[in-house]
Symmetry: C2
Subunit: 330 residues, 2 copies
C-alpha cells in the first residue's frame, strides 16, 4: 500500500455522521494526515452527533449541519469529493421497531439518494459504507464470516442490509468504487453514553463514572469489541485500497468475552463499581441475536488489518476519557 | 387440509394488486369459493392493473382504487379482513434502476405501512406476500432452493428482499401470521402484454398475435415458468395452512427450458410466427441473472403443491386468451 500521507494529503473527504462517535475519531486522523475534511451531521439529539467530539480540530474541519435524508444537500455536498465515509445512520435496534419508517428513511432511502448523487455528479468518488453485524441476525455458526446468511432480526438490520446492498449494486452495475465494513461493537472515546441507544457499553461506562450500579441483561452472551482507533484504521485501509472496491469485510475484536465477564473486567479496570444481573426486557429479548463474534480473516489476509488495541487497554482509555469529559455527553 | 370451501366461504379477503395479473385470477377463484373479495389497485398505467381483468366477476367483488403507498387508505382497508394477499408491487427490473425511489416506496416502505397497520389494527390477519426469485440474484447453484444466498442484482431485488424480510420479521417478533411465496416467471391470461415491463413472455405473445416477429435476447438462458392457475393454487394453499406461517416457499415450473426453445415452442403452439435472436441491450445485460430454475420441493413436501399445467398447455391457453382479448391489453 502507498504511504498513507501520500494517499490522503490534500484530498477532499466527506464524512456523514461526522460529528458522531466513529466519524469524529476518523476526522481527527484525516486532519492529521493532511486531508481537507468536511463533516456532515444532523445533530439529532437521539443519535451520536456531538460538537464536543471535534474539540481541538474545530478550526481544521468544515462542518455542515444537514441530514442524509436531505437529498438536495447531499447532492451538493458530494460534488468534488475524493472520498465519502458514509457513517451516518440510525443505529438503535429498539428505535427501529418503534419507528420503522424513520429507520427506513435514513438507513435505506437516504443511501439511494447518496448513491444516485454519486452516480450522476461524482462517479469517481470512493465510498466506504459503515455496515453492521446486525444484518446477520442470530448466528448459525461462530465465528461469523462474510458468507454467513443474512437474516436480520429487527427492522434496523433489514434496512442496513438494503443500504449495504445498494452500495455494492452501484459498484456492480455502474462501477462506483464502493465497499462496506460490517462493524461489530465499536467502543471508545466519543461514543454515546447518555443511554443504551448506540451501545449498552456506553451507558455502563456512564453509570460507572457516576458511581452507580449498571445492569447486565442475561450476561452469558458472547461478543467481540473493536476499539475505535482500530475501526478508523480499517476505514482508512479500505479507502486507500483498490482491492477493496466492491468488497465486504467483517471487523472483529482481539478477544471474545461474555457480557458478564466484560462487566467484571470493566469494574476491575475502573478500580471499583457494581453490576446487577437482570433478565432481558421482553421487547429487547425478541430482537436479541444471542452469541456473536466475527471471523475477520478476510480483511486480515487481503489488507493486513487486525485489532491492535487490547480490550483492557481500550476500556481504560475510554473510562479515562469519560471521567474527564462526561458532562459533555449528558 | 380442511376442504377449501369451508376455509374461504364467507371470509373477508383483501387483495392488493387485485386488478393485476395474478390478483385478478386469484379473485375469480376466491369468488367461486364464496369469499367476500375486496380488491385494491392503483391502476398505474405502467403496472399490471386492468379493469378488464375482472370481467364476469365485477358484480361479485368490491374494488377500491388506491395505492399501497397511501398509508391511510391501507390502514382503513385492512381492518376486519381475514386474509391479505399482498400482491401489489413494482415488478420492472429496469424501471427500478431508472427510478429507484419509486421502487423503494412501493416494494419496501409500503410493506411497512401494511405490516404496521396489521399489527395495530388487525393482528389476527393472515398475510401472504408475493416475493420473487429476483432476490436470489445470479444463482450459485441450480436448482435454487430457499437456502440459496440472497444477492439481488438490481434495486427491485433489494427492495423486494427487504419487503419479504419485514413480513417474516413481523411474524417472528409480533406473531403476525405472514408467509412468502418466491414466484418465478408466472404467465397466463391477464398478464401485461403491452411491453416487457412485467415479463418478456407477455410482449412475445402480443407480437405473435399481431403477426409480428418478436425478439429473443441471447436465448440460451434457462428458466422455469408457472402457469397462473398453479400460482393461485399455491397462494390458497399457504393461506389456509397454519404450517406455512413464518415460512418462505419457492414456486417453480413443470420443466426447465431455454428462452430460445421457449420461443420455438410458442411458435409451434401458435401454428406460426417468427423470432429474432438479438444480443442483450447493455442496460439489461448488467442486471440479468443468467440461468435460473427453482427447487420447489419444500412446498411440495410440506403442502403438496406442484405445477399441474404443462408449459405447452399453458401457452396454448394464454395465446387463445390474447387472440380473443388483445385489444383490452394495449
Amino acid at each position: 500500500m502507498a504511504p498513507r500521507e501520500e494517499v490522503f494529503k490534500g484530498k477532499k473527504v466527506l464524512v456523514t455522521g461526522g460529528l458522531g462517535f466513529i466519524g469524529s475519531n476518523l476526522a481527527a486522523r484525516l486532519v492529521a494526515l493532511g486531508a481537507e475534511v468536511f463533516l456532515v451531521d444532523s445533530l439529532i439529539p437521539e443519535y451520536g452527533g456531538n460538537l464536543f467530539n471535534i474539540t481541538g480540530i474545530e478550526q481544521k474541519v468544515r462542518v455542515n449541519i444537514s441530514d442524509v435524508r436531505d437529498e438536495h444537500s447531499m447532492r451538493y455536498l458530494i460534488q468534488g469529493q475524493n472520498y465519502l465515509f458514509n457513517l451516518a445512520g440510525q443505529t438503535s435496534h429498539i428505535d427501529s421497531m418503534q419507528d420503522p419508517y424513520t429507520d427506513l428513511e435514513i438507513n435505506s432511502k437516504a443511501q439511494l439518494y447518496i448513491l444516485e448523487s454519486c452516480r450522476k455528479y461524482n462517479p469517481k468518488i470512493k465510498i466506504i459504507f459503515a455496515s453492521t453485524r446486525q444484518i446477520y441476525g442470530r448466528p448459525e455458526y461462530l465465528p461469523v464470516d462474510e458468507k454467513h446468511p443474512l437474516r436480520p432480526v429487527d427492522v434496523n438490520g433489514i434496512n442496513k442490509m438494503a443500504g449495504e446492498c445498494y452500495a455494492l449494486l452501484y459498484h456492480q452495475v455502474y462501477g462506483i468504487r464502493a465497499c462496506a465494513l460490517r462493524l461489530t461493537n465499536t467502543y471508545g472515546p466519543h461514543m454515546r453514553v447518555k443511554d443504551a441507544r448506540q451501545t449498552f457499553l456506553g451507558v455502563w461506562i456512564r453509570l460507572l463514572v457516576e458511581n452507580k450500579p449498571f445492569e447486565v441483561w442475561d450476561g452469558d452472551q458472547l461478543r467481540d469489541f473493536t476499539y475505535v482507533d482500530d475501526a478508523v484504521e480499517a476505514l482508512l485501509m479500505v479507502a486507500q485500497s483498490g482491492k477493496a472496491d466492491g468488497q465486504i469485510f467483517n471487523l472483529g475484536g482481539d478477544s471474545v468475552i461474555s457480557l458478564k465477564d466484560l462487566a467484571d473486567l470493566l469494574i476491575k479496570v475502573n478500580g471499583g463499581g457494581r453490576r446487577l444481573i437482570r433478565s432481558f426486557p421482553p421487547d429487547r429479548k425478541r430482537i436479541d441475536i444471542g452469541d456473536y463474534y466475527a471471523d475477520f480473516s478476510r480483511i486480515r489476509s487481503l489488507l493486513g488489518w487486525e485489532p491492535k488495541i487490547r480490550l483492557r487497554e481500550g476500556l481504560l482509555k475510554t473510562l479515562t476519557f469519560y471521567r474527564k469529559n462526561l458532562k459533555h455527553y449528558l
